[in-house]
Each structure stands twice: as structure tokens, then as C-alpha cells.
Amino acid sequence: MTFAEKILSKYAGEKKVIPGQIVTIYPDHLLTHDNTAAIIQKVKNELEKYGVYSKSLSVIVIDHVVPAASEKTALNHKIIRDFVNKYKIENFFDVGIGICHQVVIEKGIALPGKLILGSDSHTCSYGAVGAFSSGIDRTEAASLLLTGETWLKVPNSIKITLNGKLSNGVFAKDLILHIIGDISASGANYCSVEYCGDVEQFSIDDRFTITNMGIEMGAKNSVFNVDGITRSFLNSMKISPSAYESIYPDEEALYINELYYNVSEIVPLISCPHTVDNVKTVGEIEGLDIQQCLIGTCTNGRLSDLKIAADILNGKKISPDIRLLVLPASKAIFESALKLGIIQTLVESGAIILPTGCGPCLGAHQGILAPGERCLSTANRNFKGRMGCKEAEIYLASPATVAASALNGKITDPRTEMKK
């Protein structure tokens, strides 16, 4: 069996499952964020009557519109806090702790072999540490709050083997853009994606960037097998191996598709408007002028991302025509970046540091674009209107490409700035 088949058979209490089979499962956790207010509203009466299924099931993070941008969003936050207090929800992270997916990994909630569902499409990120995780809608989250159970269809699996080493100036983000550009935005629809091959070069941060974007090719979940990198990451968080059970695919597992990539051939890439799979090399559109740059989000707002940007911006000033917004993905990351002088470097170069959270990623506040503007971002989505204005354009790239481009006010290959 594949990773997905193995973990789903375990949670379904069956010896063997096959793709297409419907199984009933009880996930370890249910992630919800600012949308919790709308979710609990749906089942208000039932919650009064029956209470929550379990106070340890929910992980609630307020991160999408923080601090509140309006009376309405402030009220949503308040409704969530009242709910958390009333039902003694164990895992609650209020405004300012971090972006939900970062928090789930950083707090050790996602562990190898766990099954987590969340009312956010990028819930698929936790395969970075060997968990099975997938996005669901709000109504299903509401039902799970009450019953703790739902159904899943056992997915077909795709195996992606990565061979070779990434070149200088090329990062995990370029790799995942390369794969999505190759197999398209629907290339892994309904499938579980397993990464293998020369993966020891990828830190948990890198793996997170890759699994986070699984949904951008339609995947149900995507996963890196647990290895020394995973174990030492968990060790560093004082999580002992007895706290989790790693699940590995069988050698004779059957895949619907097997893909091979020579990663050493990949160059800096950029996803162009208005679909993530519209991928070009940075070289192809180098020189295109941009007005806003964004470094952050659950895809690329981690310490290593901020450090890459700071190394490029160190001692230099960004173009006066650019607004460079930086959002650390969590308070912990922000603190480390402060201690290491990374924030100082970024601010001195001209960056604006935004509060930890989703910021302008979903177009709700803080850095909305004007018609005709172009934004180069480290986020995961460039859909029309995503950043609040349908006449604006969003380009996606690695933190290095964004930082190098901020210096010039134009799309720039990071390798030219890294050489200087």
C-alpha cells in the first residue's frame, strides 16, 4: 500500500483499503481559523444541546484578518474567544501567534502518522512532517465539531522522485513551481503525492513550501517520508520518537503515476497571472516593472526565507518605486529574526514589517493592490482578484527572487544579486 492507503486503512480500522474506497475516519485534529465564527454559527443549537465532540479535537488559530480590520471581523474574533472559553478548547492561538499552518507544525500538533483535517485548503502542508492532512469546507468542519467523524475517499497516489541537487540561487519554491508548471493546476486532482529521491537536501522549511502548494496541483495531500531531517526537527522541539508512529509506503505499492525530476536543471521560476501553473523562467520576463513585493505567508514566511531575503538586501536599499511588505509566519519566527538582526537588515533596506498573520495574501486588508499594479509575492496563489483587486496582477516566486526584484523595482534573477 501507498502512504495514503496505509494511513487511511489504519484510521478506518481495516487491514487493507484500495483507491476509490470510501472510509469513515476520526481525525486527530480539526483545524479552523477566523472562519470558526461562521462554522459554530451553523450548528449553534446543536452545540447547545450536545456540546463539542471533544475539546482536544479542535485547533483554532486567529490569523486571517489580524488585528481585526473592521467591526465585523472584530466581532468574529470575539465570538471565537467566547466559544473557546465556553467549551474549554485546548488548542487555541489568538491574534499574533502565527499563520494557522505554521502554528500547527511549530507547536508539534502535526506529527508523523497523524491525520488532520482543516477548513483551509493549505491544510495539505503537514505532509512536511509525515502527517496525512487535507482541506475540507466549513460545513464539514461544523459537522466534525459535533461528531468527530467524517468520510474520505482513498486517493490514488503519485510518486515524485527528485534526483540531483538544486543549484545556487534556486530554492524549494522554484522546484514546486516547476512541478506545478509541468503537471498543471489539476495534474494531481484527488491524488496523494509522495516525494522521494534526493530529499535530504530539503529542510522542514523547504518541505513545508513544497507540500503547502500541493493543493495548487489539485492534490488531496502531499507528503515527505519521515527521515533523519524530520526526526531532528522534532527532537529540536523536544518531541520524542515515542510520541509518534511514522508510516512508510510498501515497496510494492502501486502508483497511478510516477514522475522523475532532475532538480539540478531547474532555474529560478515565476508563476505568472492568473493561474499558478502559468510558470515561466525569471529570465523570460526579467525587467518587468513591479510596484509591490511581499515576502511571507504560509508558503514562504519562515526564518530561512527571511534570512535569504536579508542576505540579498543586506546594506542595500530597495527601489524607491517599490513597497516591500514582510510578514513573519509566526511570532516565534519574528522573535528569532529579531535576535539574528534579520529584521533590522530588512527594515534598513526599506521593508515594512506587517503583523504576523495572512496579511494581504487573501486580499482582505494590509496591502491591497490598485488597478494596473503588479505584485511579486512569495505566496501560493495568483488568482485574479486574490489580493483584493481584479485589475491587478500577481506573480509568485521564491524569497530570493522577490528580494532581488525589490532592489531593482523590476523582476530580477536572484543569481545576479547573489553574485554581487
Binding site: I22, N35, E46, Y50, K72, N76, G135, S143, R381, G385
Partner: protein, 163 residues
């Protein structure tokens, strides 16, 4: 009955812009913004019993369910597409909205063509040609037939707690 025809990769931001996700959650709040950035005539002209035809990967992107809630509320009878994104697919089951994955039916459709839909028997007739689509598994059909997941869960809880 009108057929609304769209292309490939119609994403959730086109169906319902992200900027409204934390300010609009009821059907009445959602309706005026449906397909706002894709087809501004949709929310004005859509009526009960209309169909949507689309290409591959319909509903890709965010997990927001407002597009499904809104499309159901304005009376869309079914969405026929070459393929759907998975969270959208689940959300549709959970709201009791009918989705039909049938590439050949979409390919046969031409503007103002004739469409007859028989959901019960899994048949769709497009410009005189009939195509069948598979039935959903029983476990899932039970959710859709209950009118969506919440009514389904409510009756399950009632049975469990006996009140």
C-alpha cells in the same frame, strides 16, 4: 432554463472573491457577489433551474464554501464539468448541490444548445446526444439526499442521543 458556460480552472476567487470571505456568510449576503470577477451578468440574470457547464478543475483554490452555498441558493440545478477540484466537490455534496463530471457532455455542448438532465437515472442529453454519468456511492448519496451534511448530521445525532 439557461446554461451558463465557462472554461477551465474556474477558481474560487472567480466564483466568490476572497475579500468577502469574512464579511459575507449567509446566502443573501453571498448572492450579489457570485462570479463577480468572472461574469458580472451572472448574479443579475441567473434563475432557478439554470445549469453551469465548465471545463476542467472547476472550483479549484480556496476551501471557502460560499460559492457552493450561493450557487445552491440561486437555484443552480447542477454543474456539469470535465472535472472538479476536490474540496469544491465535497462542499457541493455537503450543501446538496448536484455536480456532474462528464467530459463528453461538456464537449458536445454548443451555445443555446438543448440540454435535458435526468439526475435520478444518471443521464444527460446534450444537443440530441445522451451521456450517462456514474451514481455517487451510497454513503455519499445519503448525505446529498438528506439535503446536505448538516441535516444528515442532525438526524444522526438525534438517533444517537434519542432526543
Amino acid at each position: 432554463m439557461k446554461v451558463w458556460k465557462y472554461g477551465d480552472n474556474i477558481n474560487t476567487d472567480m466564483l466568490f472573491p476572497g475579500k468577502y470571505t469574512y464579511t459575507c456568510s449567509t446566502a443573501e449576503e453571498i448572492k450579489p457577489h457570485l462570479l463577480e470577477d468572472l461574469d458580472s451578468s451572472f448574479s443579475k440574470d441567473v434563475s432557478e433551474g439554470d445549469l453551469i457547464f465548465a471545463g476542467i478543475n472547476f472550483g479549484c483554490g480556496s476551501s471557502r464554501e460560499q460559492p457552493v452555498v450561493g450557487l445552491k441558493a440561486v437555484g443552480i440545478k447542477a454543474i456539469v464539468a470535465k472535472s472538479f477540484a476536490r474540496i469544491f466537490y465535497r462542499a457541493a455534496i455537503n450543501q446538496g448541490l448536484v455536480l456532474i463530471e462528464c467530459e463528453s457532455a461538456v464537449k458536445s455542448y454548443s451555445r443555446n444548445g438543448d440540454v435535458k438532465l435526468d439526475i435520478e437515472n444518471g443521464k444527460i442529453e446534450v444537443n440530441g446526444k445522451t451521456f450517462s454519468f456514474p451514481k455517487l456511492p451510497d454513503e455519499i448519496l445519503a448525505i446529498r439526499d438528506a439535503g446536505g451534511l448538516l441535516p444528515y448530521t442532525r438526524s444522526k445525532l438525534k438517533n444517537k442521543y434519542n432526543f
